[in-house]
């Protein structure tokens, strides 16, 4: 776990108790977050990450009284405090609506809670290819704006991951309620179909990943059924910290091509 974290402007020990029991991020999932990669102290697409975080806070009407360059500066200082200026690090920034009285109705707007955590991050691209299943126990809700933002409401994804682990797989593809593939539990998905690189549109319940966006110049968006994924020549997962990872098999059926996809 993180040795040092940044909590509302103060550097403190990572395992210190910081949040009161009444923090709405804890009680109600009333928070948004971002996870970003840094390599040798250099943050990758920091401006895009923090602008997206601001957009996602707006969806939940969580105040966002921060400037992107201030957040970048804070993240830099945190990397330094955590001795993460060499190698790869994952920086998580969480904005919670903060403590409030009981009840779902949000309190009047006030300063939210800002937390930043940094951890060393292994190189995932060189890990063994992934064995995946399609989750049967849970669907992704494309009828919720939360399916297109990074909020702390990760319960559905957790249910899908637990199912994958029970099946001896590494991760699960989540179908949306219409039966179209949306994503893996913490990644976007790209399928190679014929000569085309295809990824589901955001409207299918897809979080707009920044690695995903960086690949869109050579990909097309279209809805993908489970059958499309089973018949694809290759499947990749993309995420900011995990990078681009090849999927070896889906529901036990191997892909022809399990090599990398250059970024």
């Amino acid at each position: 776990m993180a040795e040092i974290i940044l909590y509302n402007g103060n550097f403190i020990a990572g395992e210190s108790p910081v949040l009161p029991a009444s923090d709405r991020g804890f009680t109600l999932g009333d928070s948004v977050f971002d996870t970003m990669l840094a390599i040798d102290g250099k943050m990758i697409f920091a401006d895009k990450h923090f602008r997206r975080l601001s957009d996602h806070a707006a969806v939940m009407k969580i105040p966002f009284p921060y400037r992107v360059n201030e957040l970048e500066h804070s993240a830099s200082m945190l990397l330094e405090r955590c001795n993460l200026l060499t190698g790869r690090a994952a920086i998580r920034t969480t904005i919670s609506r903060g403590p409030a009285p009981r009840g779902l109705a949000p309190p009047p707007p006030r300063m939210p809670t800002l937390l930043m955590q940094a951890h060393g991050a292994p190189v995932m691209e060189n890990s063994p290819p992934l064995q995946m299943i399609v989750a049967r126990t849970v669907r992704r809700n494309e009828h919720s704006p939360l399916s297109r933002i990074k909020s702390s409401n990760y319960g559905d994804n957790l249910i899908a991951l637990l199912e994958a682990q029970d099946a001896g797989a590494h991760d699960a593809v989540m179908l949306n309620t219409a039966g179209n593939a949306a994503c893996a539990t913490t990644s976007n998905i790209f399928a190679l179909i014929g000569e085309k690189l295809v990824t589901p549109p955001l409207s299918d319940g897809v979080m707009p990943g920044i690695t995903r966006a960086s690949l869109m110049f050579r990909a097309v968006e279209r809805s993908l059924t489970e059958e499309d994924l089973m018949r694809a020549d290759a499947l990749w997962l993309t995420s900011s910290v995990g990078g681009i990872r090849a999927v070896e098999s889906l529901n036990g059926v191997k892909y022809k091509d399990v090599t990398g996809l250059a970024a």
Copy 2:
């Protein structure tokens, strides 16, 4: 906010920082909770509440190393410490998987985090009748087991409540992804149709409310469309702390009958 709370067996000041930033209830919505009413120190259906909490923890595979009678005893002591032995109080019990390293995969099973908070609760049944809308911005995901448990993933319900507040309403009915009514943002729903009291089945994405269960001896379960709710003679919301509350209007259209429904 609560003056005194119970945190892993210790009574502490309610606004003390207790949770580390790495608590999965905060980072990922990896927790379940219960809200129960107490009147003059007597908890209503405490055994049902705590057994349901245990069931809901099992859905998320969160360990539940507690006995129901121990939890009842803890809640009693908390009420006493909070000077809530007279009048009405709401007791919230939260079980989080607890602190863990970065990532969605849960750590090996260990002692979860147990939090209990108590607050004075007004009598809601005597409040003015509710003006409600049907939420358009978000649907309830009946394809998720979380739609049938009380986890901290309340983001969808919050989006619906924010929409209601923007529209000048008190609360919103949430439709599921198939277009059937599931619930309000923190309550179950009952409609009077002809002479029948009707409530949606759990399979429509309904949390099995304990007040709901107490009314089932004289109600029938069937799926309800928005049109069914608009044509109903009356609509009520039920919850453990709010009791049974009459809805005055839905989407601006008044119900004929806005009187109470005896428990």
